[in-house]
C-alpha cells in the first residue's frame, strides 16, 4: 500500500520541492501545512503514515508541533527536515520523539534512505 506523507513547512517552495521529491520516490502526499499548529490539526484529521516537519515556523514551531503529535499518537512517525541543524535542535527533536533529522538543503538520497528506514 502506498505510504502517505504529511508535509509541514512554512515555505511554499520547500513544500513544493519536497512534494516533487517524495512523489518521485513513490509516496503519496496526504496534505501540506504551513505551520506547526495546522500540522497538528491535519495530523489528527488525516492520520498520515509519516510527517516531515520543519522547525523554524511562525505560529507554532516544529519541535512544539512534534511534541503535540507524539502526545496524540505515540507511534507517530515524524522526520525533521530543517535548515536549523544545530546540535541543540537535533537533541530537542530526538528527545521529543523524532525518528530522524535531515538538514536543508536536503538531498534526495538522504531523504529516500530516511523514509525507507522509517517504514522498515
Amino acid at each position: 500500500m502506498v505510504k502517505k506523507v504529511l508535509i509541514v513547512d512554512d515555505s511554499r517552495t520547500s513544500r513544493k520541492l519536497l512534494r516533487g521529491l517524495l512523489e518521485g520516490l513513490g509516496y503519496e502526499i496526504a496534505g501540506e501545512a504551513e505551520n506547526g499548529e495546522k500540522g497538528v490539526l491535519m495530523y489528527k484529521e488525516l492520520k498520515p503514515d509519516l510527517v516531515t516537519m520543519d522547525i523554524t515556523m511562525p505560529v507554532m514551531d516544529g519541535i512544539t508541533a512534534l511534541e503535540k503529535i507524539i502526545a496524540e499518537d505515540k507511534s507517530a512517525k515524524v522526520i525533521m527536515i530543517s535548515a536549523a541543524g544545530q546540535k541543540s535542535k537535533l537533541l530537542a527533536a530526538v528527545k521529543a520523539g523524532a525518528l530522524d533529522f535531515i538538514n536543508k538543503p536536503f538531498e534526495e538520497d538522504l531523504i529516500a534512505q530516511s523514509l525507507k528506514k522509517a517504514f522498515k
Binding site: 511554499r12 517552495t13 520541492l17 541543524g85 544545530q86 541543540s88 538538514n103 538543503p105
Partner: protein
C-alpha cells in the same frame, strides 16, 4: 568565477568584443580541456610535440598521455598532474580563447599580467583566482578584515554556485550606513551574535535566484518568488548556524522576511553590501554582524 572576472576585464578593456564574450560563455558549458594544451601551458611539452601526439592519437586510438609517455615527451607523474588540471577553469578558459582564435596564448599571458597589475594581485593571489577555488578566492576579492564576513560571503557564493548558477562573480564590496532597494529578502539570527543576511535587487534581478532555486518561473518578484528566495536564504543561514554551533556559538534562526522599497540604516559603523553578478543580473548580498538594521 575566474572566467567571469577575467573575461569582463578583457571586454571592458576592448581586448575582446561583446560577441567573443558571449561565445566564451557558450563554449564554457561544454568544454573539456585537451591535455596537449595544458602540457604546453605547463611547459611540459612544446607545441610541436603536442601537435605530433594529437595527430598520432587520431590514428592510434590511444590516449594522449599514453602516447606522450611512449615517445618520452611526458612522464607518468606529469600525466597525473595534467589529468588533475583538466577540470581547471583557467585551462578551460584558455582553451576557449585559443581554439576560437579570440586571443593567442602570448596575448592572453600579456593581458593576464595587465589584469593582475590593475587589481594589485600578488602572484599567489592570481594563482588562487585561476584555481577557481571559491573559498580561497572570496577573501582576496572581499577584503573585509572581520573573518566572519568573509566566511559568510563565501558560504553565500558557494551556495549560489551550487543552487542558482555557476556564472557568479563578485563585482564590488562596500561598507555603508544607509542602503535602499526595490526588493529585499532577508533573515536575522540572534543569540550569542546578531546576524543579518539578505539579497537585494532592482527590477527583476532577484528572479535569477527565485527561479533557479525554486525550479519554477515567476511573473515578477511576487510573494511566491520571495518565498523561494527566502527559503534559499534560510538554507544558507542554517549552514552558518550549524558551523557556528561547532564553535559553541549559539544563534537562533528567525523566519525569513521580505519587503519592497526598503530603506535600511544603522546608527553605528555600518554594514556590508557585496555586489555579485549572477548570469548578468546584479544582486546585492547584505550582511550585518552585531549591528541592528533599521528597516523602513
Amino acid at each position: 568565477m575566474y572566467c567571469k572576472l577575467y573575461s569582463s576585464f578583457l571586454l571592458d578593456k576592448g581586448h575582446i568584443s561583446a560577441e567573443q564574450y558571449r561565445l566564451i560563455f557558450k563554449e564554457l558549458c561544454s568544454v573539456r580541456v585537451k591535455m596537449g594544451l595544458i602540457a604546453v601551458e605547463m611547459s611540459f611539452m612544446t607545441k610541436e610535440q603536442a601537435d605530433e601526439v594529437n595527430r598520432l592519437q587520431a590514428v592510434k586510438d590511444k590516449r594522449f598521455g599514453d602516447i606522450a609517455v611512449e615517445k618520452g615527451y611526458l612522464t607518468e607523474e606529469q600525466v597525473g598532474q595534467l589529468l588533475k588540471l583538466q577540470g581547471n577553469p583557467y585551462m578551460q578558459f584558455t582553451q576557449i580563447l585559443v581554439e576560437n582564435d579570440i586571443l593567442s596564448p602570448e596575448m592572453n599571458t600579456e593581458y593576464l599580467k595587465e589584469y593582475q597589475e590593475e587589481n594589485g594581485f600578488t602572484d599567489d593571489e592570481l594563482e588562487i583566482i585561476k584555481s577557481g577555488n571559491v573559498d580561497l578566492i572570496v577573501p582576496i576579492l572581499v577584503k573585509i578584515e572581520a573573518p566572519w564576513y568573509t566566511y559568510h560571503t563565501g558560504l553565500v557564493i558557494r551556495n549560489l554556485i551550487r543552487f542558482v548558477s555557476t556564472d557568479v562573480s563578485i563585482t564590488g564590496v562596500e561598507r555603508v550606513k544607509q542602503y535602499t532597494s526595490r526588493h529585499f529578502a532577508y533573515q536575522y539570527m540572534e543569540g550569542d551574535r546578531l546576524v543579518y543576511m539578505g539579497f537585494a535587487g532592482e527590477g527583476n534581478s532577484l528572479l535569477v535566484i527565485a527561479e533557479n532555486f525554486g525550479k519554477e518561473e515567476f511573473n515578477g518578484i511576487n510573494d511566491d518568488a520571495y518565498d523561494s528566495i527566502c527559503e534559499f536564504i534560510n538554507c544558507i543561514n542554517g549552514l552558518l548556524a550549524s558551523q557556528l554551533d561547532k564553535e559553541s556559538i549559539d544563534i537562533d534562526i528567525q523566519p525569513p522576511l521580505f519587503a519592497d522599497n526598503v530603506d535600511i540604516s544603522v546608527d553605528d559603523e555600518g554594514f556590508y553590501v557585496v555586489t555579485v553578478d549572477i548570469s548578468g543580473n546584479a544582486v546585492d548580498i547584505v550582511l550585518a554582524i552585531d549591528t541592528a538594521l533599521s528597516l523602513r
